[in-house]
Subunit: 343 residues, 4 copies
C-alpha cells in the first residue's frame, strides 16, 4: 500500500480527498493534518466519517508528513505551499498541490493576480500542470503536480479542442461560469451563510478572478499564441457543481462537423470526459470525476456556445488530484474514481 | 374603484397579479378566470389566499371579462391572446397582455420564432410595448399593452443606455441569463419537479429562446440599426429572480465615466431602476418591482460586463403589468408596488 | 407620525422591523441602532434597502433612542434588555422587546433555563406578554411588551384552545417543531453556512430549548394548572417559516366537533389566525403575519395532531411586534401587516 | 457473476439500484425493465448514466426477467407485485420486492390501509421481511424478500431496542418523521414541482400513512404485544434523507444506562447502524447505507426522544435491497455498499 498524507484535510477539498482515498484499494492514509483542527478527531469535525476515519488530526508540517508518506496532498491557502515544498521533499516523494502556487508558469503573472510575492520560484520548472487530458505524459514522471482549479478545469477542457484546432477567434472568448457554494470554502463568513446565499444568484470577482490567468495560460499554450479572455464566475444556491458557458466567434468556414471532429479527436479516448448528446447539467456529474461537454452553433451570429459541467470538488479538485496520483504511480487512472452521480 | 379582470389567474404570473391587485387601493378584482381550474375557489388552488380571495374561478371568456371589467389582464400561452383580443374590446377597455403575441412588431419574426401563424396582425399597430422606462408616453394612451417578457425586461434595461448612446459594438452583444424555476411555469412536467431541478444548473433553449427577437427589436430600435445578439438562458435552483450578465466590446475611446453618465441619464428619474454601487443579486429585488443594474469595465479585453437583476414574476411580469395599468390610468406609477425584498 | 427607534436593527428580526415600519403609514423611523455595524449606512449592510433606508446606524444606546422616539423596539441577545430598560424610560415611552428577558414571569425559571442572572426583576410585573390573541386587553395599556418567541407563538396558538377548554390531557403534550434557518440568526458560524445546512434536517437543543418554559407558562395559565411538556426543534433547509406539529391525548369523550368549536370560539374574530381547511404549509404564511392552524384526530390512538404554521420573522417576531405597537397605540391592529404570501 | 434484473428501473429507487448494482463486483445487470419508458435507452432517461448504462429498457414482464436473471428486484406501485410473483418463479430465483405487497403478514391489515384486495395471499408465508438487523437469519434462506419502506426502516431501527427490552410504554409511541422529496417518487404532479415544495414544510397523510401498520407489525413482534402508535410524515425541501424523531414515555425506573446498553447490545455488531455521539443529521448518511441513531432522556417529562436518520433511497430502499441480496447469496453484506456521505 502506498502511504498518503493530506495537509489541509478539513476543508471541503481535503474532506473529499479523505473520502476518495479511504476507498482506494492501493492506498493507506498515513498522515492527516489540519491547521484549524489539529488535535481533534477527524470524525468530530466531519461526523459523516464516524466509524470510518476516526484518527486524530496532526500538525500541518510537511516534513513530518513526508516522513510518514509516499504521496503528500496539499490543500492550503495560496502562498503557503510555495513556502513549504522543497527540492528535498520532492526528490523522493510526490507532492500534489491543490492550491494555486505552482499552476502559473510565470511568477510575474502570479504576483500580479495574487497580489503577493511568490516564494518558491525555483520549483516552478519542476511543477507539472495536472490536467491529465493535456499533460498526461508529463504527469507520469512528475514529483510536483499543480492540480488545476475548479473553474479552470471546466473552462479549459470545454475550450481546448476549439483553440488547439484553430476553430475560433481566440480574442472573442467569453466564459460565464456558475458554481455551487462549496467553491467558496468552509469559512464562517456571513456571505456564506444559508440565508445570504439561498434563493439568489450573483456574479462576483467580475474581471478579477484569479482563475483567469490559469485558463489563459493553458489555452495560449494550446493555441500557440497569447490569449486574453473574459471570465465571470457566479454563485449558485447549490452545494456543488460548476457549469461553464463558453462563447466564441467561429473562424469563417468552420462547420459544426469540424467542431465535432475536434472534440472527438481530443476526448474519445478519455475516460473522464463525456461528449454528451444532451446539454450538460451539473447534477449529471455530481459526486463523479466526469466532465460533460456539449455545444451549439448559433448560425445567426456566427458563434459557438460550448458548455462544460463538472463537480467542483471531484474533477475540479480532489478527484483530479487522485487521478494525478494514479497516473504518477502508474495505476489505472480511474482507481477509486468510478462513481455515478446520485441524483 | 376601477374593475379589473384576469384571464389566466392560476399560473404563477396570474397569481402574482391577484396578489398585487388585491392590495391596490384603487382597484377591485371583478373577474378571475382560469382554463384549468374553472369552477374552483381561488384559495383552493392557492391556499395562501385563504380568507383573502375566495371567489370562484370563471370561464376564460374575454367578452364576459370585458363586460365586468375596465382593465383586463391576459396571461395565456402564446397564440391565444391574438385570437381573443378584438378592436371592439380595446375601444372601451384596456387590455394588458402578459403573453408574447403583441410584443413583436414584425409578424414574420413572430412566426419564425414561435413556429405558428399570428392571427391578430391587424392589432399589432395598436399594441404598445409596455416597458415604461422606454415607452412611457405611448403607454399613457394605450389600450392594448404588450407586457414584456421577464428575460427581456432585464436584458433590455441593462443594455439600453449602452446601445442608445453608441458606447458598445452592437454586433458583440452576448447575454448570459439565469432564471429561477417559476419562469418555467406551473406545469406538471418531470423537468420541473424538485428532484430534477434542485442542486443543479443547466442552460436551455441555447440559440433558440423566444425572448431573443424581443430583445433584438427593442435594442435595434434604441440603436437605430439592426442588432443580432446571442442570448443563453439558464435554470437556477431557486424560485424567483433573473440575473442577466451582459457582455459587449466597448467602442474605442469610451470611458467608464461615459458609461456611468449614460446610465444615470437614462434612469436617474426612474423609480424602479436602481443603479447600484454593489453588484446586483436577485435576492435584493425579490418580491419587488425593482431592476438593479451595475457594471464593470474589463480593461484587459476592452469589454463591459453589465449586470441586471429583477424578480421575474414582478418587474418581469405582474408588477410591470400593474405599473403599466397605473400609467395608462393616470395613477401614481408605483401604486401597490412599493415593496422591499424580504430577505 | 409616531417616531420609532430600533436597537438591534441589523439582525434578521431587526431588518424585518425596518421593512414593515418603512411602509407603515403612521410611523416614522427615527433611530436605527446596531452594535456590530454602528456608523455604517443601513443599505450597505442590507443592499435590498438601497434607495429606501440609507440612514447611518447609530449607537445602541436606549436613552438616546428614547430621546428621539415614542416607541422603541429592542432585538438583543438575552440578558441585555433587562439591563437597559428602566422605569424612567417606560414612563413616557413604549418599549417592545423582541428578546427573552421579560417573557417569563418567574425569575427563577428564567435563570434556570438561561443560565444567567436576571437583572431587571423589578420590571417583570410591568411587562405584558405580547400575544394579542390572549393578552390583547393588557397590551392596550402596556408600556413594556415582551414580544413572544417564534416557536412559542406558533406552539401556544396551536394548543391554546385545546388546553383552555380542557380537551386534552395536559401531561401528554409533545411539540415537534421545524424552523427555517433565519431562526438561527445572522451569525457567521460554520453551523449556519450553506453547505452545512442545505439538503439536511436535524433536531437540536433536544430537551433543553429555551422556548419550552415560555410555552409552558402560557399554556399553564390557560389551563389553570401546571404543565410540563416536551418540545423538540428541528432545522429545515429553508430561509423562513415554522411548522409546529403538536401531539396530545384527548380527554375521554371529546369529539372532533368539540375541538372544532373550541378553535372557532378562540379565533373566529382574530384577523391573523386562520383555521384552514387544508393542512398548513409554511409557504402559505411566508412574508405574512398569519398563523395557519388545522388538526386531525387519530381515532386509533385517541390523540389529536394539531398543526400550526407561521413566518418566524413576521408573526414569530417583527410582525407581531408591530401588531403589538398598533394595539398599544390604538391603531388598526393590521396596519402595515396586510400581506399575502409570495409563493 | 450473478445475473440481476430490475423491473421498475426508472423510478428513483430503481435508478439507485442500477447505480449500486453497476458497481457491484459479483453482479451483472441482465434485464432492465420500465413500464413508462420501455424501448428507450436507459441513459436517455437518466443522462448521468451516459457511457455507463446505455442498454435499452425492456418490457416489465417478470417471467422474461426471470429467464435472464438469478435475482429480480421489483420496484412497482402497490398491488402489482402480488399479482406478478408466483411460486414457480421463486422456486429457482430470488425476488426482492421494494414495494409494499409482501411486507404485512396480515392480509386484512393490508387491505384496510391500502384500500384494495391482496391477490398474492398464498405467498405471504414465503415472504421474509427484509430488515437484516432483525431478520438476518431468515433472509439467508429467503426466496421472496419484502424490502421494508423508507420511513419504516428508520422508525423500526430507532425504536427496536427500546421495545424489545421493555424500556418504554408502548402505548405512548409517537413518531414524527421528515423526508426529502425523492420519497414522493418521480411523478409529474404539481405537488412535486420545485416551486410548490421548495422553501416550505408540511405534514401529510396525518393519521393515515401506510407505513404505520408496517412499523406497528415489527415493533409488536419485538415487544411481544400489540402496539398502536401515531406516525406523522413531513415533506422537507431536500432531495433525500429521512429523520425520524421518536417519542415515548420511559417505564418507571429505566435509566439512561439501561437504554445505552440496549442499543449497544442490539447494534454493536451491525455494520450499517451507527450509534452516534452526535445528534443525527440526514446529510451524514446521504448516499450511504448507514442508519445513524442517538437519543436524549427528558428527565422533566420522563420521556425519551430517540432520533434516527438514513438515506431514504439507500438504506430506505435500494441499498437495503442489495444488502438483502448480498445476505441471501452468502456474500459479504456490505458489497458495493461501502460509501461515505459526500457532504
Amino acid at each position: 500500500m502506498v502511504k498518503v498524507g493530506i495537509i489541509g484535510a478539513t476543508g471541503y477539498a481535503g474532506k473529499e480527498l479523505v473520502n476518495i482515498l479511504a476507498g482506494h484499494e492501493k492506498v493507506k492514509i498515513s498522515y492527516l493534518a489540519s491547521h484549524s483542527y489539529q488535535g481533534m478527531i477527524y470524525s468530530d469535525v466531519y461526523p459523516s466519517f464516524y466509524g470510518i476515519e476516526d484518527d486524530e488530526l496532526k500538525e500541518d508540517d510537511i516534513v513530518k508528513a513526508a516522513n510518514e508518506s509516499d504521496v503528500i496532498f496539499l490543500t492550503l491557502p495560496h502562498s503557503l505551499s510555495s513556502q513549504l515544498v522543497t527540492k528535498e521533499i520532492i526528490k523522493d516523494k510526490i507532492v500534489i498541490d491543490l492550491g494555486a502556487d505552482f499552476r502559473l508558469k510565470d511568477k510575474n503573472v502570479y504576483e500580479a493576480w495574487y497580489k503577493c510575492e511568490h516564494k518558491g520560484e525555483s520549483l516552478l520548472n519542476e511543477a507539472v500542470y495536472g490536467l491529465p487530458e493535456i499533460h498526461r505524459e508529463e504527469i507520469k514522471k512528475a514529483h510536483l503536480i499543480a492540480n488545476p482549479g475548479c473553474y479552470t478545469t471546466c473552462s479549459i477542457l470545454t475550450l481546448y479542442p476549439l483553440v488547439k484546432n484553430h476553430l475560433i477567434k481566440t480574442e472573442s472568448i467569453i466564459i460565464d461560469a456558475k458554481s455551487g457554494v462549496s467553491g467558496a470554502g468552509r469559512g464562517a463568513k456571513i456571505d456564506n451563510i444559508f440565508c445570504e446565499v439561498n434563493e439568489s444568484v450573483k456574479a462576483y470577482s467580475v474581471t478579477t478572478h484569479r482563475h483567469t490567468p490559469e485558463i489563459e495560460q493553458e489555452l495560449s499554450y494550446a493555441a500557440g499564441n497569447d490569449i486574453k479572455l473574459t471570465f465571470t464566475p457566479h454563485l449558485i444556491p447549490m452545494q456543488r457543481g460548476i457549469l461553464a458557458t463558453c462563447y466564441a466567434s467561429l473562424i469563417s468556414g468552420v462547420t459544426e462537423k469540424d467542431i465535432k471532429m475536434a472534440y472527438e479527436e481530443a476526448y474519445n479516448n478519455e475516460v473522464f470526459v463525456r461528449l454528451t448528446p444532451y446539454l450538460p447539467q451539473t447534477r449529471f456529474t455530481k459526486g463523479t470525476n466526469f466532465v460533460d461537454i456539449s455545444f451549439k452553433v448559433d448560425e445567426r451570429t456566427g458563434r459557438i456556445v460550448a458548455i462544460g459541467a463538472l463537480d467542483n470538488l471531484i474533477k475540479g479538485a480532489a478527484g483530479q488530484a487522485v487521478e494525478n496520483m494514479n497516473i504518477a504511480l502508474g495505476y489505472d487512472e480511474s482507481l477509486s474514481l468510478k462513481r455515478i452521480a446520485l441524483i
